[in-house]
Amino acid sequence: MTATTVPATDSARTTHRAAVAFRGVTKAYGTVRAVDGLDVELLPGQTVALLGPNGAGKSTTLDLLLGLRRPDQGEVELFGVSPREAIERGLVGAMLQSGGLMEEVRVRELVGLACDLHPRPHPVDEVLSRAGLADIGDRLVNKLSGGQAQRVRFALATAGASDLIVLDEPTTGMDVSARQAFWATIREQADQGRTVLFATHYLEEADEVADRILVLHRGRILADGTAAEIKARAGARRVTFDLDAADLASDAGSRLSALPALTAFDVSGRTVRIQSSDADATVHAVYALGLYPRNLEVAGLGLEQAFIAITDAATAEERDAATAEEAAR
């Protein structure tokens, strides 16, 4: 399966050095390939979401990107240098899901440490207020709630003027309003020309914030494009209707499954659910079969359904391949 190419021209690629480049990167734990031949470039200024089911290799990908793990094969470069060098130059700010905090110190002291360690630091007060921590600067770090601790992690990631910001599940533990405030801040960062890469479980976040989405599955990139492209890829529309018992009694099932532009098909009771890459053609064909669909609904697929459709299809493909291999033996 080939991934949609990066929406960037060749000239852009030669004039700008990639913010992030994975070249043939593989990382295995024992026999499990967590990252399997990853080739991807992120351009400066992009806001990129990394999506994938649990175990897809998101965390390993971010670890490799930040130099916390070394690839078995291939190489990772940030702005043309190694991850460690990029970090030492203050080019990268990162917020890890697994990132712990120093305990028994005050929020302000800890953020002050991060500012102090950054070559191009922002003023501590500015960092605190941007992360929504201005009121709790005197609180001890080990006395914070989950959402507050998450904001401290964000403050550590944005303590200086880094060109790339990496966020792993950044809004975990935040309530809805905190989450909205958080993404508003991230958009500001992106508007200042920073490259932002984030992994998330909340697909609506990817839909709203990212201008590019990478779908990761078993260590490979399944899809790469804008939210709209990803949705289109999965079958852009969902068509739902009910059929009369008489219509159903005929060989409707087999005739329906042969409809044009169909990407998924399901009948339960009298209700038919279809995913279609061309809803107009599909609905037209339903009438052409002489059927009379009732309560017809045509709706766009959400990113979540698109994501599930894409990963499910990949899983099914792998299963088929495995079965075929077994049959051949």
Binding site: L66, G67, L68, R69, R70, I87, E88, G90, V92, G93, A94, L96, S98, G99, G100, L101, M102, E103, E104, V105, E109, L110, G112, L113, A114, D116, L117, H118, P119, R153, L156
Partner: protein, 246 residues
């Protein structure tokens, strides 16, 4: 890195439990043990009074507590919680974390030495030459680096719930067998042959030599240097292993 060292010191000074164990505990033990002894009692087989013996023993014990107990547990915990990972996303050089831990331990171990000496001079009327006080403070303080390195090594070697019991076994084992709690002269000969190779034994022996105005035995200094190399080498190796795995 100075900011990190400053923060490490500040959090240690705020930790009441730690301050109790590294300051009040050795000082209290000193008063309790040395207070009940006749000031003229000699440690059997030596020319040293019990008071002098415990002055060095408890100052050493206090320094050992400050540098060993807090650090191993903190490092193990911070490795697990991911603070060590988070720090690796900063410009702090890899060694910086360990250096900050040892440096802050060195700062907080000094008061635990001085408090015992202060009590010895005031409450127990121990009289030594000025150079002896200085040399004692210097040697016990410098010697505590051996145990700071051991603390780092344990912190990288042992994880989770095991780190506290392991640290405690090593801590009490070294203290008791090395003669920081009781003179080892009462031990059977075979045990004495073993314990003289312990770092705590050499540690206190150097202090006692200074108290009687002698130069420390070369063998004791050699034992301390040997352990320093062993523990720093071990800590460095474990640290590298942990870095590659993390």
């Amino acid at each position: 890195m100075n900011t990190l060292i400053r923060l490490e010191i500040a959090r240690t000074l705020r930790n009441k439990k730690f301050m109790f164990f590294s300051l009040l505990y050795p000082a209290g033990l000193f008063l309790a043990i040395a207070g009940s002894a006749d000031p003229n009692d000699k440690v059997s087989g030596t020319n040293l009074t019990l008071t002098l013996y415990y002055t060095v023993a408890m100052a050493s014990f206090g320094a050992l507590t400050s540098v060993l107990v807090g650090n191993s547990e903190r490092i193990a915990k911070e490795r697990e919680q991911g603070w060590v990972r988070q720090l690796r996303l900063t410009t702090l050089p890899g060694r910086g974390y360990v250096i900050a831990k040892v440096a802050s331990a060195a700062v907080v171990s000094l008061p635990s030495i001085l408090i015992v000496f202060g009590l010895a001079a005031t409450a127990k009327h121990v009289r030594l030459e000025a150079w002896q006080w200085l040399a004692l403070t210097g040697s016990i303080w410098a010697g505590s680096m051996v145990f700071a390195a051991l603390g780092v090594a344990i912190g990288y070697l042992v994880s989770g719930d095991a780190v506290r019991p392991v640290t405690m076994i090593i801590y009490f084992g070294l203290s008791i067998l090395g003669g920081l709690w009781f003179p080892t002269t009462g031990y059977p000969e075979w045990l004495n042959d073993v314990v003289r190779w312990l770092p705590t034994h050499a540690y206190a022996a150097i202090g006692r030599a200074i108290e009687v105005g002698d130069a420390p035995a070369a063998s004791d200094v050699a034992v301390m240097v040997g352990y320093l190399l062993l523990f720093t080498g071990g800590a460095a190796w474990l640290y590298r292993k942990d870095t590659l795995k993390a």
